[in-house]
């Protein structure tokens, strides 16, 4: 009986995340527009785009194979699976036993893997360029993510998401300098993985600069909708990971209605704050040249390494 | 009686060594052959002395063989070969005469040092001559190394055999007769084969200078 309630709560948490995701992307765009003194499209504009795309017909390249058609479904499914695993609202997760932080990271890598293949399939130069650059960035970000997980697991005693959140919530002592360094490292990785500004410009269609956009250039109709939605969900997941793993206050410990509403409220507040930070960041700095990106990622790697050593020494 | 016996032996073996050293001093091939002939004759004489005083009747046969084989037959064959390749006098050997004499002196001293335990162990009166025999062995080795002509190398080798024969006679009053005869047979066969090869070298290389034989390397 309890399992079924837990299962239902887990699924509803994922559904909530799915619903909020396009709005989050819309919010970031709206904030950037306001910062650039533009009126900007309303925050719910992405919902309209998705609805429009779902009604459009699909044009598929003649060179493409079944990989091209299957990729959107795989990307979307893996991102939703991650949403099920990540503690967005409540801590005693029903699916805690199914996967830990490592599984989350590698599920996201599964999504990037198939998206890159889909980029290569139509045989256009842009898709190939996007795939190559996306995989390069993903590969270089892996060590940072692994070390950040190591730092968190060190203090929490396990890589299990629920345990990490519970450990950080259990008291101020748990928040060590290692956490701060790990947070910064993961923040840089978030910008890299979700294709935000210093690494990739989400708003541009300039062939030479886009990474994520280049891979999905060939998609249209419902496939493109699925991929856009998955991308926005990925952004939301990373934001919730950042907030809950490092600033978990407000995450519902029990299943009472009051705790749940508090959790939703704290989630919204945290998302808005993070969206604001990203929007300010994107208006302040310009896009890095592709071959400078590894330096940024090595900065994040060093931060993660310091996080691990500090948590080692202060244990 | 023993004193005279050992005196004669020392005289004989020193004469044998001196003839060896003459080889190093002189340059011409004819001198080499005559030095070798006389050396064999003196060696035969020493063998007769040891046979007489040591009362070992077989040694007389050995002395006769020595005299016949190394005193007469081999020198005649060597002279025939020498007349055939006479125009080639022994050119400058690897080591000039002065250094080769010094080196052979050192070798004789080394021979002395090495054979001291032999002399100490032996109770035979002829033991005093053994270091000289060892000296001759080492000197003849040096001769074979430093001489350029095949003919002279053969003479050096024959001198080496003389040295060892002397060592055998002085040390043990001669090894058992059958073995001694076998040794002579081998010595003769060995010399004949070397003679055949020298003729072959002369045919193919038009000279018997061993320095030309350096085509096979590595």
């Amino acid at each position: 009986m309890v399992a079924i309630i837990g299962f239902a709560l887990g699924v509803s948490q994922a559904a909530l995340a799915l619903l909020l995701a396009p709005g989050l992307v819309g919010l970031v765009r709206w904030l950037k527009a306001r910062l650039q003194n533009r009126r900007g499209a309303p925050a719910w504009q992405p919902y309209l785009e998705l609805a429009k795309l779902f009604r459009k017909e699909v044009v598929v390249s003649s060179n493409a194979s079944w990989v091209f058609r299957a990729a959107p479904f795989i990307v979307f499914a893996s991102t939703v699976a991650v949403a099920l695993l990540v503690p967005i609202l409540l801590v005693p997760l029903p699916f805690d036993g199914v996967g830990d932080l490592l599984v989350v990271v590698y599920l996201l890598l599964l999504g990037t893997f198939f998206l890159s293949l889909a980029g290569l399939d139509p045989g256009s130069a842009f898709g190939g360029m996007g795939a190559s650059r996306a995989m390069t960035v993903a590969a270089l970000a892996e060590p940072t993510v692994a070390l950040a997980i190591f730092a968190l697991a060190l203090s929490a005693g396990s890589t299990n998401l629920g345990q990490i959140v519970a450990r950080t919530m259990s008291g101020p002592a748990a928040v060590s300098p290692g956490h701060l360094l790990a947070f910064l490292a993961l923040f840089i990785v978030t910008l890299a993985e979700t294709g935000r500004l210093p690494i990739d410009n989400p708003a541009t269609h300039l062939e030479l600069t886009m990474i994520h956009e280049a891979m999905v250039l060939e998609y249209s109709g419902r496939y493109l909708a699925l991929i856009e939605w998955a991308a926005s969900l990925k952004l939301l997941i990373f934001f919730s990971l950042l907030s809950n793993l490092f600033v978990p206050w407000g995450v519902a410990a029990g299943l009472t209605a009051g705790a749940l509403t508090l959790a939703v409220a704290s989630l919204l507040v945290k998302l808005v704050i993070l969206a604001a930070v990203v929007a300010v960041l994107e208006t302040r700095i310009a896009k890095l040249r592709l071959f400078r990106v590894p330096e940024l990622l090595s900065v994040s790697f060093v931060l993660a390494l310091l996080a691990v050593t500090s948590s080692f020494l202060l244990r | 009686m023993d004193a005279a016996f050992s005196q004669l032996c020392v005289l004989g073996s020193s004469l044998v060594l001196i003839f060896g050293l003459i080889l190093l001093w002189r340059r011409g091939v004819t001198a080499y052959i005559s030095a070798f002939m006389w050396q064999s004759i003196v060696l035969a004489a020493v063998t007769v002395v040891v046979a007489h005083f040591g009362k070992v009747p077989e040694l007389y046969w050995v002395a006769v063989c020595l005299l016949l084989l190394k005193g007469i037959v081999i020198p005649r064959l060597l002279r025939r070969m020498e007349r055939r390749f006479s125009p080639e006098r022994e050119l400058e050997p690897y080591v000039n005469t002065a250094t080769s004499l010094v080196v052979s002196g050192l070798l004789v001293l080394f021979g002395y040092a090495v054979t001291r335990p032999l002399v100490a162990l032996s109770r035979l009166p002829t033991r005093v001559g053994m270091p000289l025999a060892m000296g001759l062995v080492l000197v003849s080795l040096f001769v074979v190394i430093s001489r350029k002509k095949a003919l002279t190398q053969v003479v050096g080798f024959l001198m080496l055999e003389n040295g060892l024969a002397l060592l055998a006679v002085l040390g043990t009053y001669g090894i058992p007769l059958i073995v001694e005869l076998g040794v002579f047979l081998d010595a003769l066969m060995g010399f004949l084969v070397m003679q055949i090869f020298i003729y072959q070298i002369h045919e193919t290389f038009e000279s018997i200078d061993v320095e030309q034989l350096n085509r096979l390397r590595h």
Binding site: - | L141, F157, V179
Partner: protein
């Protein structure tokens, strides 16, 4: 007495027959081959006698004696002798009748002298026989008079004779040591007498004698630094002769050294001989392995490989009873493998006309069976399973580790690997690729390959198991030498 007659008689008879038949006829070769089987049978008889525990001796003063060591060597000599007789020079091998006749005479004399050397109990006669081997084999090297063969023969005869003369010096000193201890009498030079009275010999003199012996017979065995004649002689000699020389003459010379080792060990203990063996053995392996790296002539490559294996056997002899067991087994395996290799090299030389590795290519395509056997033989020589040399090398190195010399064994393993790598490189250059221009493809006559393949099969059998009669023979040898 009968077995010795059957052992020593056939080569003499064959030589006599060859001399009498003035214009050479093929029947001489046939008879020679049949007679060689006689001496092979005799050595097997000696072996069975030994298994029954009886050491056969005969002749006045027991001057002929066949104990375990002699029987093993007699086996090797008669096997290789039989191979040489069966596969001897045929007239179309660019040799004329007179040359083949001369070859038949002296090869049989060569076999006779070696058999006599290994079965004579008298150390003096052993010396005479080994000197005679030098003389009889020297005459055969310049069978075809070329600048190279004349040069090789002169170097062989001169270095060999000087070496043997020093060995005679050693024999004299040994006899001198015995005479001072027990006075002169007829059987003083018998090995059995020397070993029995070895304890009373004067250590200083017997050590000097052993130095003479080791340098003397070491020259004949191709031990460094007296090995210099070996590559020239084996590369220039006709194939059957170089097979006999590389295969078994080196073993006979080592046999003589081992005889005297038994005497010296009984007199002064193992320390002295072990030191000398390891010094010269390692020097031989070093020189041979590094000479193999840049070798460009496959007959010289096989010659240097013989030097390497002789060095390895020497090191083995210095590693205690287990080492002697392994060294003797290695000697037997090496004899089989190396003689087969030289016969095959002879066939390749006959077909390609050149001994340069660079000019021989596509051997597998040109002569598939000979090429295949050549490759298998070379893999056996460099010590790969399933051939016998792998087992004997394993036992040898195990003896080395058991004797407490890990660093020495490490060095030997490293040098063997250098030799292995370079010979594999040379083999690959010869086997693969297209056959050189102007080389007729297709195997010549197949029947000579049959005995060689038989040798390879015996080597395979020794590689998989160690037949008990051979094991008892080797155990007896260890008792003789190691006591």
């Amino acid at each position: 007495m009968r077995t010795f007659a059957l052992l020593l008689g056939p080569p003499l008879l064959a030589a006599l027959l060859a001399t009498m038949v003035r214009p050479y006829r093929r029947i001489v070769g046939g008879v020679n081959a049949l007679l060689s089987l006689g001496s092979l049978g005799a050595s097997l008889a000696l072996w069975s006698e030994l298994l029954a525990g009886r050491v056969v001796t005969s002749g006045p003063g027991e001057f002929l004696r066949a104990d375990a060591l002699s029987t093993l060597l007699a086996m090797c000599v008669s096997v290789v002798g039989a191979l040489a007789a069966w596969l001897g020079l045929s007239r179309d091998d660019s040799y004329n009748g007179a040359q083949v006749r001369r070859f038949r005479i002296f090869v049989n004399l060569f076999t006779f002298t070696m058999l006599f050397a290994v079965t004579s109990n008298n150390v003096g006669f052993m010396w005479i026989a080994i000197e005679a081997t030098t003389i009889t084999s020297a005459l055969l090297i310049p069978l075809q008079v070329t600048k190279a063969s004349v040069e090789a023969s002169w170097k062989y005869i001169l270095i060999g004779s000087i070496g043997i003369a020093l060995a005679f010096g050693g024999t004299v000193l040994g006899y001198f040591d015995f005479v001072n201890m027990a006075g002169r009498h007829e059987t003083a030079l018998n090995w059995t007498v020397l070993v029995a009275s070895a304890a009373h010999l004067h250590p200083q003199v017997i050590q000097l004698a052993f130095v003479f012996i080791l340098v003397g017979y070491g020259t004949k065995a191709g031990l460094a630094p007296m090995h210099t004649w070996l590559p020239d002689a084996h590369a220039e000699a006709p194939a059957p002769l170089s097979a006999m020389m590389s295969g078994v003459l080196l073993a006979v010379a080592l046999y003589a050294v081992v005889r005297w080792q038994a005497v010296v060990n009984a007199a002064v203990g193992r320390g002295f001989t072990d030191g000398l063996y390891i010094a010269l053995g390692v020097l031989s392996i070093v020189i041979a392995s590094f000479s193999l790296v840049v070798q460009s002539n496959y007959k010289r490559m096989l010659a240097y490989s013989s030097i390497e294996h002789t060095g390895l056997i020497c090191v083995g002899l210095a590693l205690g009873p287990l080492g002697i067991f392994a060294a003797m087994l290695h000697m037997l395996n090496h004899t089989l493998a190396k003689s087969t290799m030289f016969f095959l090299a002879g066939r390749v030389l006959h077909r390609y006309g050149t001994a340069e590795i660079g000019h021989v290519s596509g051997l597998l395509k040109a002569m598939p069976w000979t090429g295949g056997l050549f490759a298998t033989g070379l893999l056996a020589v460099i010590g790969l399973p399933p051939f016998g040399l792998f087992l004997s090398e394993f036992a040898l190195i195990r003896a080395g580790f058991a004797a407490g010399r890990p660093w020495l064994m490490g060095l030997v393993l490293a040098l063997m690997t250098v030799a292995f790598v370079s010979m594999i490189g040379h083999l690959n250059r010869m086997l693969y690729g297209a056959p050189a221009a102007g080389v007729s493809v297709g195997e010549g006559s197949h029947w000579p390959l049959v005995p060689l393949a038989a040798c390879m099969v015996t080597l395979l059998v020794f590689g998989v198991t160690l037949p008990t009669p051979l094991e008892t023979l080797l155990r007896q040898i260890v008792e003789i030498v190691g006591s």
